[in-house]
């Protein structure tokens, strides 16, 4: 049940990731929620995997597991075939951090307001010993700022974050991730907080980085159109499950899973007729909270094609095209 | 005859009043003398004995017993007869319950037996001949046996009905902030008291009594108030008066077992370095009287002072900084390192602490001034204001360098000297920690009780005074004032400088009875 890309081996691959969170602080009432359930995917160098899904579907959680902010409850992540825990045992978290970096959603929150831009980019260089000497450090910072198009770089370096616009800040965040020269960049909704007119600039920048530096990207978004625009492959998540994934065009042009279909139907399109018949999906049920003991397909309650078995057992992954997978009984 | 009626208002520093009228558990000093009387009362100011419940008392020839005779037809305030039985019962209680043994005559074994001789006569048998035991016996207040017998535990019995023998016994009301007690219908003295009631009002401290006094809310104040002339008298010069006769003598006690106080010359230098008038004026607000008598007693006992002492030792209390410097220089206390402070003769540092109780502000001020005067003659001294507990312990154990303290004030100066010098008092009292004692002095004190002759008694006192002036184990400072303010807008008959019929202390049993019975409406 892997997404195969026959040409080369994945750089990061996640297998059956499961993540449980305990909710409620009190000792008396504790519930466990399963934020991720049996999620597997691969990242390839020079390629982007987009993860789309509604809020709370576990997109960020999977990225955070990859970046070691959270630990998976079960399942395994390998980096170039080597299990993550081995990697950390060898090189420590720092060594790991030098390979996988993260870009966050909020350019206003991801830069520490008290430090200058120079510091923000210099730190990863220092931590990972990328340069020696102050002069080299400065030169490298400037170079990085230029790479992300923040010119004049020398002036930008001496500014504080509040002196920059949202788009500029997001570029700084990208430069900071680039500083450690990672192989993998996890971008968690990197443009959702940006103005429409500059979103594309950032997407294009990441696209160039991906192509020029051969970086593997994981691109998290709830905007399926940008997913298709930026990423070679797209995965759709629903309530902690990956329900459909594969080649971006295949997923967006030929959605198979009922949830993907719903999602795509909902995307606004100029000139489309004003009323679309969505009634089959409406008011059926709320989005469930997944718990370790829950069974079946998470979409069962809302699914217009739901069958009895849908609520008893999680469907297996079906490969419906060369690079197109779906987790649904309709295709088993 | 003086007109009758009226209610006297008296301030009491108290948290709250409760129905507690046991004269032996009387923290607020509102029971003794007012609700209960003693057999007799020694009026020191007049040098006479005022007979109260007793008609008289008499020592046996050999001074091995004393017999008191009660007045005729005495009754308790509830109308029951007050007899020798009650007196005997009281002393029996005192033997069992230590708080009742006010003057410790039973605990010390001085009184061996208390016997009812007749309905009105009680005999006290003594362990050894003693002509002064009546001072002590006069402090006990007979209790109504029929009431106390009802109590389950005499140690905590409150006598809630206030059945007693004093001038006021009828409770009008008791509220936390005020209580009012009225005339005893069965009081033994005809026509007395003239007043109807006494009203006690609770205050936090003197600073609150002051405005109340100024406002005329209080008839009889016994409290320190600042600048009495400007505040109290000025508020109503017609009716607001005060009279501050001398009270106990305050000294600077020096620990003669330590350097530099082991050196008499040093002690003398300390004494002459002090300007007592100024201290009294500034630190003590001018009310006490400076004590220039080096013999260990103050103006309160002026009658007992050996005036001849002044010729020889009078210089000791005269402010003379030059003489102090000279004394110090001669004794080798010199400023060798040039820091303005003298050093000990061996060259080591000279500096000492003077202990004082934190919160006793006039004393703290006094000590502050003392350090200033000592500084003038090159002696470094520091104020050490400590909690009472610490002060109490270090004074009793003689574990201090210097300390300001009072002296015992009782019926007779011999008691004061006993507190200073008798070796049995070392470790027991605050006054005996200075370290100056001698067998001869012990003997003098012990034998005093057996002396019957007035001259012999005075001779003992003279010797003790001379001993004090010679040794100077403490430096006399001043005689405390007796705080006494009175308001004549409603009541007259107060003691004052013109008519000093008794020492005007409200919280002292006997003194208060005498004054209260004197007062009447204008």
């Amino acid at each position: 049940m892997t997404m195969t890309n026959e040409a080369n081996a994945p750089i990061v691959s996640a297998r059956d990731l499961t993540k449980d969170f305990t909710l409620g602080g009190s000792l008396l009432e504790r519930t466990t929620m399963r934020a991720l359930n049996a999620v597997s995917f691969d990242l390839y160098s020079g390629e982007a995997l987009a993860i789309v899904g509604e809020s709370g579907s576990g997109k960020s959680t999977s990225a955070r597991i990859l970046s070691q902010v959270h630990e998976a409850s079960s399942g395994e992540v390998t980096y170039r075939g080597q299990p993550m825990h081995e990697l950390i045992a060898q090189g420590g978290k720092r060594g790991f951090a030098s390979r996988v970096q993260m870009i966050f959603q909020d350019p206003f929150g991801s830069l520490n307001p008290v430090h200058r831009i120079f510091y923000q980019i210099a730190r990863p260089l220092q931590i990972h010993g990328k340069v020696r000497g102050k002069a080299a450090l400065r030169a490298r910072v400037i170079e990085l700022l230029e790479t992300v198009g923040l010119t004049p770089a020398a002036e930008t370096a001496d500014k504080f974050p509040y002196e920059l616009s949202g788009g500029q800040r997001q570029r700084v965040a990208i430069a900071r991730a680039l500083a450690v020269e990672p192989d993998v960049i996890l971008a968690d909704e990197p443009i959702s907080m940006l103005d429409v007119s500059i979103r594309l600039g950032i997407l294009n920048l990441m696209m160039d980085l991906k192509d020029q530096h051969d970086i593997a990207f994981m691109y998290i978004t709830h905007d399926i159109a940008t997913a298709r625009y930026f990423a070679e492959r797209t995965a759709v998540m629903y309530v902690g499950h990956m329900v459909e994934w594969g080649n971006s065009d295949a997923v967006t042009q030929n959605p198979q899973h009922p949830y993907t279909q719903l999602l795509l139907a909902a995307v606004p399109q100029p000139g489309a007729q004003k009323h679309r018949d969505m009634s089959q999906y409406q008011h059926k049920a709320d989005i469930p909270m997944w718990q370790p003991e829950s069974t079946g397909c998470p979409f069962a309650q809302r699914c217009p094609h739901a069958r009895a078995e849908c609520s008893t057992r999680l469907p297996e992954v079906t490969r419906i095209a060369k690079d197109h997978f779906v987790r649904c009984y309709l295709y088993e | 005859a003086p007109s009758k009626g009226g209610t006297l208002t008296v301030p009491v520093i108290a948290t709250a009043f409760t129905k507690s009228f046991n004269p032996y558990i009387d923290n607020l000093n509102v029971v003794g003398g007012m609700i209960f009387e003693t057999l007799a009362f020694t009026n020191v100011m007049q040098g006479e004995t005022s007979l109260r419940l007793a008609e008289g008392y008499e020592y046996a020839e050999d001074y091995r017993s004393i017999t008191y005779t009660l007045r005729e037809d005495l009754t308790w305030s509830d109308g029951k007869p007050l007899t020798a039985d009650d007196v005997v019962y009281t002393f029996e209680l005192a033997r069992e319950v230590p708080v009742y043994d006010l003057a410790g005559v039973l605990a010390s074994g001085l009184v061996t037996e208390v016997t009812r001789v007749s309905d009105r006569e009680i005999r006290f048998d003594l362990a050894k001949p003693d002509s002064t035991v009546h001072w002590d016996l006069n402090r006990y207040m007979p209790l109504p046996r029929h009431v106390w017998e009802q109590a389950s535990d005499p140690a905590t019995f409150t006598n809630p009905e206030a059945i007693g023998s004093g001038p006021v016994t009828e409770i009008e009301y008791v509220r936390p902030q005020q209580m009012e007690i009225c005339r005893n219908p069965h009081y033994y003295q005809e026509d007395r008291p003239y007043l109807n009631c006494v009203r006690y009002r609770a205050f936090n401290d003197n600073s609150q009594i002051q405005p109340a006094l100024m406002n005329g809310e209080i008839d009889w104040g016994s409290n320190f108030i600042a600048d009495v002339e400007k505040t109290y008298v000025a508020a109503d010069p017609e009716n607001h008066h005060y009279w501050y006769p001398a009270n106990d003598a305050i000294h600077l006690y020096l620990n003669t077992r330590q350097a530099p106080f082991d050196d008499l010359a040093f002690r003398q230098a300390v004494s002459v370095a002090l300007d007592r008038e100024a201290i009294v004026d500034l630190a003590a607000y001018g009310y006490p009287t400076a004590n220039f008598f080096p013999g260990g007693i103050g103006d309160y006992y002026a009658d007992y002072m050996d005036e001849s002492l002044m010729e020889e030792y009078g210089w000791l209390t005269q402010y003379d900084p030059d003489r102090a410097r000279q004394l110090l220089d001669e004794a080798g206390y010199q400023d060798v390192d040039g820091d303005g402070q003298r050093e000990l003769p061996d060259g080591s540092e000279l500096s000492f602490d003077i202990q004082v109780v934190n919160g006793w502000t006039d004393w703290v001020q006094t000590v502050l001034m003392i350090t200033e005067y000592l500084q003038d003659v090159g002696i470094e001294a520091n104020v050490n204001a400590v909690e009472w507990g610490v002060y109490d312990q270090s004074l009793k154990e003689g574990d201090y360098q210097a300390a300001i303290n009072w002296s015992l004030l009782s019926t007779h100066p011999i008691q004061t000297f006993k507190e200073y010098y008798h070796t049995s008092r070392v470790g027991q009292t605050w006054h005996a920690g200075h370290g100056v004692h001698s067998e001869r002095v012990d003997e003098l004190i012990e034998d005093f009780g057996s002396l019957t002759d007035a001259d012999a008694k005075q001779d003992t006192l003279d010797q003790l005074q001379r001993f004090t002036a010679e040794k100077l184990p403490f430096v006399p400072l001043f005689s405390n004032a007796t705080w006494f303010q009175y308001n004549t807008s409603e009541f007259v008959g107060w003691p004052n400088a013109e008519d000093p019929y008794v020492h005007p202390v409200f919280y002292s049993t006997g003194n208060n009875t005498l004054i209260f019975n004197h007062l009447h409406k204008k």
Binding site: S165, V267, G271, A272, Q282 | -
Partner: protein, 336 residues
């Protein structure tokens, strides 16, 4: 419903529901005056949906708030006119204003979580607007409230719920129900669905349109999502740095954009079904209103900027009877 009728002024009735003329709104900030809405003129006809798009900070909300005179310190409507059915909104006294609000114009705010009071029940928040404007009893108001909830697809028992007990989509529906309570002629919607998922957004928009068909109100729809706008609006206005730079029917703006900024915006949205090609968006950064330049505000980001752009403020130039845009290039073209 016993709503007091709002009297239209008869003399100046132009047939437009709402007419805004040369509106300027300033913010008095410590660093100086910021003109957040700059000389904007537009009108809304009965029953139509006017979309207003533009990026963050271009003055959309400020404009919307000014219409209901909800602007607060330090906002200042310094110039211009707002006429609602011929009556001057800006000179209304307090009482008329209160009647005007919600009876005639209601507002749906950006995010439902922030505009519903968390400590008051849904029921009270619906009924209090009915009680404030109509002479009805509490019971009757409550009944109407329940009806309203059902209109937007919620169960009547939700009246007793508190906002935190509802999901984001449900809350947004409640807000819409409140907006409909008095059957206003105009509903201003300030980014009503940006905080929601696409699926929920879709549901709500569909419902909104059913309601619009039923009640026939006009909508001023504010969003920065041009795709959504293209789908629902009859006419679209594009704002940049406080100015209205283009206004036209949805199709005109979408398929024949005249202002370079509009073109750039349209170029910033990848589509799901169109060709997958590189898009270029708009270079540069949004304008800081405190440092507004001479001439066209878009000059720094415009690839086709030429000399008049640096000196003169472009006027709105009609392209067709329904389509206007403010660009010197356009002026050149129409002139030439």
């Amino acid at each position: 419903m016993a709503i007091q009728a709002f009297q239209p002024a008869t003399d100046e009735d132009t047939g437009e529901l709402l007419e805004i003329r040369h509106l300027c709104v300033d913010y008095v900030s410590p660093k100086g005056m910021v003109r957040a809405v700059n000389d904007v003129s537009l009108s809304i006809r009965p029953g139509e949906t006017l979309g207003l798009a533009g990026e963050s900070g271009c003055g959309k909300s400020t404009l919307a708030f000014s219409i209901a005179r909800l602007h607060k310190a330090p906002a200042l409507i310094s110039e211009g006119e707002i006429r609602y059915r011929g009556r001057d909104v800006l000179s209304m006294n307090k009482r008329t204003l209160r009647q005007f609000r919600w009876n005639e114009v209601s507002v749906v705010f950006q995010s439902a979580m922030n505009s519903l009071n968390p400590v008051i029940t849904i029921g009270e928040q619906i009924t209090d607007v009915i009680l404030a404007h109509c002479k009805v009893r509490k019971k009757e108001a409550w009944r109407q409230g329940e009806e309203l909830l059902q209109t937007v697809g919620l169960h009547a028992s939700r009246m007793d719920s508190f906002p935190h007990q509802l999901s984001g989509g449900m809350r947004q529906r409640v807000v819409i129900a409140i907006a409909l309570a008095l059957r206003p002629r105009l509903i201003i919607m300030d980014e009503p669905t940006t905080a929601l998922d696409v699926v929920v957004e879709r549901e709500i928009m569909d419902e909104l349109y059913q309601l619009k068909d039923r009640f026939g109100f006009s909508i001023l729809f504010i969003s920065h999502d041009l795709s959504l706008m293209g789908e629902i609006a009859d006419r679209i206005g594009i704002m940049y740095a406080g100015k209205l730079v283009e206004l036209g029917s949805a199709d005109e703006v979408f398929y024949h954009p005249q202002h370079p900024y509009t073109r750039g915006l349209l170029n910033s949205f990848p589509t799901i079904h169109g060709p997958r090609e590189r898009l270029y968006g708009i270079p540069g950064n949004p304008l800081n209103l405190l440092e507004a330049p001479e001439g066209c505000y878009f000059q720094d980001r415009c690839e086709r900027c030429f000399s008049p752009c640096r000196t003169h403020d472009p006027e709105m130039i009609p392209v067709s009877s329904t389509h206007r845009a403010a660009c010197h290039e356009l002026a050149e073209r129409t002139a030439g």
